[in-house]
Amino acid sequence: MISRTKAAYAYIVARTKVMKSKLLKPEDFRKLLNMSFDEVMRFLEETEYKKEIDEMAYKFSGPKLLDYALFSNLAKTYRKIYTVSFGDAKILIGQYLRRWDVWNLINIIRGKNANLPAEIVEETLVPAGEFSFEILHSMFSKELNELIKELEGTIYSEALSKIGSAPMNLIEDELWKAYYKALLSVKANDFESRVFTNFVRMEIDLRNIKTILRLKAEGDTAEEIIARIVPGGYELTEEEARKLATMSFEEIIKSLEGFWFWKISTIQDLGRAEIELDKIWIEAIARRAGNYPLSVLPVLQYIVLKKVEVDDLRILGWGKWHGIPNEEIEKEMVII
């Protein structure tokens, strides 16, 4: 049984390692930065995104085509990882990918609230979680109360029941909290559970510190910040986060010294600081994945890196399309 579990991980880890080797390298991004938008698209047509670009080139053009190709490829890649994995790995990967269900649900609710046409909302959907594109499409065609009824009994039902009585940002936070709560209660064998939950807890740390810094910079009150904190952090526990929420911005920066994610001395630009935090996160995952090669961590590392690549390409594409200088575009990208 032990060797079967190890073999399951050896298989999926080897697959994702090969997939990781096909991700764009930092030097590719530097090359892309010196290209025009059309040249970027031509470059991408020689990569993993070719099929998606060719598929929708008749319908979309410009950065919309890029967005469509990137999101479809992201969903396809994630679904593939889930499909080819088995055993504990499948359970853990499936649970982690449910973040896209939250993303899709938020987009559907936002789209319905803003009375957006189905085509616009569907462009933003990434059916990489439990809900397929068909299910998401049928969700969008329903009334909000029908949707809430349909999702009764799921981890999202409590958050969704507040629609109409609470602001949308609170419902979004509740959905994310429900997602992380479900992730932290996933049952696998002891070693797997420990490795996976530590990864999730570290991600919660990062999410919370970004929330605290952003809201503090916007001048939100401590209560407003506390309400948005996701419980279950790794080093930044709920209690610590509550303490930070009551401090001033400068005090927070001082208090963060010593936390695993804090290697920034001063913050001049919050956006840059968030990018730095993302880089620290990616380095931390790489270290952990190296320490536990036969675990779910190398797969999660790939899942994170793929998302970072897609985000970088979107920033690059839209930046090029709007004629933003290369230095500005590069500053917004997470290149490691």
């Binding site: 060797s3 079967r4 190890k6 073999a7 399951a8 050896a10 298989y11 999926i12 880890v13 080897a14 697959r15 390692k17 090969v18 997939m19 080819v84 036969l294």
Partner: protein, 82 residues
């Protein structure tokens, strides 16, 4: 009487050697199989993504087989020495 005892003891030694030979190959085979399970799974995973890994994957998969060759040598020695 002595002759019968000698024949019996020779038969016993031959029998033990045969069991030893069987164990040498059998246990080495089980060990190699256990080792290969992970390597084989990883090789199949890598090949599924990129066919270029076929040669390297096969090579790594058969490396634990060398231990079976050692087992086989021991078993042949046992079979022919006694």
């Amino acid at each position: 009487m002595v002759e019968t005892a000698l024949i019996e003891s020779e038969a016993f030694i031959k029998g033990c050697a045969a069991i030893g030979a069987g164990l040498a190959v059998g246990l080495a085979g089980i060990g190699a199989g256990a080792g290969e399970s992970g390597i084989g799974a990883a090789a199949v995973g890598a090949i599924a993504e990129d066919r270029g890994f076929l040669g390297l994957g096969l090579l790594f998969t058969v490396i634990p087989e060398t231990i079976v060759i050692f087992g086989l040598v021991i078993s042949l020695i046992l079979m022919f020495a006694y």
